[in-house]
Amino acid sequence: MATSMQTSADRTLQLAEQLVSGTSRSRGQFSWLTLLVYLLLSLGAVVMVTPFIWMLLTSLKPAPELVQFAFLPKNPTLENYQRVLQTSNFGRWYLNSILIAIFSTTSVAFFDSLVGYTLNKFQFPGKNLIFLGILATLMIPTEMLIIPWFTMSVRFGWQQGMAQYWGIAFPGLITATGIFLMRQFFDGVPSELLDAARIDGLHEFGIWWRIALPLVKPAVAALCIFNFIGNWNAYLWPLIVASSREFYTLPVGLSFFRGESTTEWEKIMTAASLATVPLLIVFILFQRQIIKGIALTGLKG
């Protein structure tokens, strides 16, 4: 029963691990085919990475250099950064994005794993109905909900003042995907272990928090990564609900920034660099964990 499910979850984890560690089945001998493969992959990698390099290089160029064809800046300068940071609210937008992403991700990690656990380990009336009800929401595209969410926000004043933080964050505080994912991962936690803790007199919340949750840490980490990136890059809903400049998230602020500096590409590229580089550094540092996390949520979700 539980053991077969456990191995399936373990196998997915192992596969994701293998994917990241780069253990492949191919033999490591030299051949022309392998050389060709490397050539093609390198060509593709150039196409993927060049736009980012070009963005960074442009942001380091003084405006007159943009019309000359030179790949590298002749007189690299940080002046663009100074100007963009002085004339826009970038610092504030950063803070907003970080606050909202951390708040949402914490909430998702807590509630999704709690609900996933409850749906997996408890028997109670209405359980299947609730589970189906949650699963069914996966079929509803966000676009269909934005109008009702907006009318709700207008009614309660969530698009005014500090309440905008709540307004931006509230739709994503619990996710059906995460619940589904966590429910599957709690299969790997043997019920006997939980029963033993019950006999020892630990209350149910403590059993979840201290016994079950630590056993599915990799899954929670994956969920957090997946959710953080999604939140950080969320665009349509924050664009609609945030009504004042100080409460924009980074993508929304960036979008409005373009409207104000239409053809000053060095400024736009500087703004784009400011918005992407920190996340790129985080990505490069935690590349393995992030890709593993996405693969895991992708495969299970």
Binding site: F69, M144, Y235, I240, A275, L280, I284, Q287
Partner: protein
């Protein structure tokens, strides 16, 4: 307390589920019903619920669809084209790169990261970087074309190239995800199948068509569904890559979601926008069901 263990478990389950259940009722299920309700009304958000007008919003959309130059007609037609161009490109390129990556041992981590970088970047920043690359005279791509002695291209500035140019960026951005999931699928295929086929005298070509592709079928269906849905919901890239974010030039890039945004949040014509989102929901539902039916075939292991 004199509750049995079973009863106590039920109480705990309901305590755990209390907040999440309220969340799903208030933030998911009620707004879903509300979305249908809005679509049957003449609704201006700041004046609250308007009068019930039955199917009038849908009739209006139908009329607009029949008008040769209407924005809504362009939006539906463009959205279909985004899907038709984008989904096959993304699947074929994704599978191709995954096969290449599966072949190599060294640097595979590096390549995976390179292909994955755009996926963790905000669509708004991506849109700006590509706007800059696509610029008529100063853009890197046109400078490259000039260098190669080829005629310059207008890309997003021309009604006949803009949609394809944006599709290319969308594919570029989500390619990394497709690659990772395909790679995981490829590594799940047991080596024994290949060995058995080789003993039977199959060549590499046959191995691909007779072993790899059929066993990869569930992954292909999964990615096809995901990719179709994401192209049906295209918004951020189009809004930030078309002039003034209106889906131009000459409506050539506008999408259903962009029209929802413009009707609902620029003209505050919520009823009409709501009806559009309901139609989008049914299209997504229909396509998901068709794809699952059409492409999911059972293979005996």
């Amino acid at each position: 307390m004199n509750l049995t263990l079973k009863q106590r478990q039920i109480v705990w389950a309901y305590i755990f589920m209390l907040v999440p259940l309220l969340f799903f009722i208030i933030i998911r299920w009620y707004p879903t019903l509300q979305a249908f309700n809005v679509s049957f009304r003449d609704w201006n958000v700041f004046e609250g619920a308007g009068p019930w007008i039955g199917l009038d919003n849908y009739r209006e959309i139908w009329k607009d669809l029949l008008k040769p130059r209407s924005a809504v007609r362009a939006a539906f037609w463009n959205t279909i084209r985004y899907v038709l161009y984008g989904v096959p490109s993304q699947l074929i390129l994704g599978l191709g790169i995954a096969l290449l990556l599966n072949h190599i041992r060294r640097f595979s981590g590096f390549f995976r990261a390179a292909y994955f970088v755009p996926y963790v970047t905000s669509a708004v920043a991506v849109a700006f970087v590509w706007n800059w690359l696509y610029q008529p005279q100063t853009g890197l791509l046109n400078q490259l074309l000039t260098f190669l002695g080829l005629p310059n291209q207008p890309f997003t500035k021309s009604p006949s190239q803009a949609l394809q140019s944006i599709t290319a960026v969308a594919v570029w951005q989500s390619l990394g995800f497709t690659v990772i999931i395909f790679l995981a699928g490829l590594q799940q295929i047991p080596e024994v199948y290949y060995e058995a086929a080789r003993i039977d005298g199959a060549n590499s070509w046959q191995l691909f068509w007779k072993v790899t592709l059929p066993l990869l079928n569930p992954v292909i269906v999964y990615l096809a569904v995901l990719s179709t849905i994401s192209f049906l919901r295209l918004f951020a890239l189009v809004q930030n890559m078309s002039p003034q974010g209106t889906g131009g030039p000459l409506k050539s890039t506008t999408t259903v979601v962009l029209e929802v945004y413009r009707e609902g949040f620029s003209s505050y014509n919520m009823g009409y926008a709501g009806a559009l989102t309901v139609i989008l929901f049914f299209i997504i539902l229909l396509i998901t069901v068709i794809q699952l039916r059409l492409f999911t075939r059972r293979y005996e292991y």
